[in-house]
């Protein structure tokens, strides 16, 4: 059987009415008291968190900032060739022991 446009339109209209009919079902009111009970339980559990758990939660908030800082520092080090061992070796090579302070400054 072909699903004609007209039938499709009629069916959609009818199903839409059926769908909205579902709203008319009555529901009791007891569940609201249970919701407040659950909410108070959750609140109590959250309030009971230990000092270290609270510190831990607070520290996690800084994780994105820490990651961003690590990334920025990494890029800076790579870009400006800031390798500490290499820099130290360079200073030592240019500053032999026999040079005095004045000579080093004059170079």
């Amino acid at each position: 059987m072909k699903f004609t446009k007209n039938w499709q339109k009629n069916l959609n209209r009818t199903l839409r009415v059926a769908y909205h009919e579902k709203e008319k079902v009555e529901v009791g009111g007891q569940w609201q008291a249970k919701v407040m009970h659950s909410v108070r339980d959750i609140h109590r559990l959250l309030a009971k968190k230990s000092f270290f758990e609270q510190i831990g939660d607070a520290l996690w908030r800084f994780a994105p900032v820490a990651c961003a800082l690590i990334l920025i520092l990494g890029i800076c080090i790579l870009k400006f060739h800031m390798i500490p061992d290499y820099e130290m070796a360079k200073i030592m090579a240019n500053d032999p022991v026999e040079y005095g302070l004045l000579q080093s400054l004059l170079m």
Partner: protein, 202 residues
């Protein structure tokens, strides 16, 4: 889904009180929006689980209250939580298949054929109000995946725009459009098969 500014600021104040530690203030919000949440939940889930789902909606709302932006519309924010809770319910059901699927009888097929031929003389409103209409609708929706079901209900049965449905579900508009088109095709196929299959099985 409109709500006035005084209502918004009132809601924001209550949210502030709850976040400040006054848990009992949440009851005011719950009572204010019970009807609204129930209306959404009743449309999307079966009668037996309406209370349980509404309960879950308010608990989730309480847990994510700190994410509510005071400038936003609380009603809209809560609607989104309600729709997503219903969606999660159906996803869980489809994954576990814990609810037996309803069966269709010849009475339902006759009801569909009456619409096809439009020979009963009843208006569409009368036909839609019949128990058969709801049962055929439930039968077809049960056979669709959770996402298809939700999008079909929101866009085709409630008449929301793709943008509104996307906001409620937290999807992109393009995704809603694609899912909605596919879901409608699947529903047509199911109902067409129901009429063609006089033997009673799809």
């Amino acid at each position: 889904m409109m709500h006035n500014d005084s209502g918004n600021s009132g809601d924001a104040q209550i949210v502030g009180l709850v976040l400040g530690g006054n848990v009992n203030a949440f009851e005011t919000l719950m009572l204010r929006y019970t009807d609204h949440v129930l209306r959404i939940v009743k449309r999307h889930v079966n009668y037996e689980v309406v209370e349980e789902t509404a309960h879950e909606v308010f608990v989730r709302a309480f847990q994510s209250l700190s994410n509510f932006k005071n400038s936003g519309n609380f009603r809209q924010w809560l609607s989104s939580i309600a729709v997503r809770t219903c969606y999660d319910y159906w996803r869980k059901v489809y994954r576990s298949r814990e609810i037996p699927m309803s069966q269709i009888s010849d009475t339902h097929r006759e009801w569909l054929e009456e619409i096809l031929s439009d020979r009963s003389g009843q208006s569409f409103d009368e036909k839609g109000a019949q128990e058969e209409a709801r049962e055929v609708l439930d039968w077809a929706l049960e056979r669709l995946p959770a996402g298809d079901r939700m999008v079909l209900e929101l866009v085709h049965l409630e008449g929301l725009s793709s943008k509104e449905a996307a906001d409620l579900l937290g999807w992109s508009v393009a995704n809603v459009k694609v899912r909605s088109f596919r879901a409608r095709k699947k529903l047509q196929k199911l109902l067409c098969g129901l009429i063609n299959d006089r033997g009673g099985r799809l």
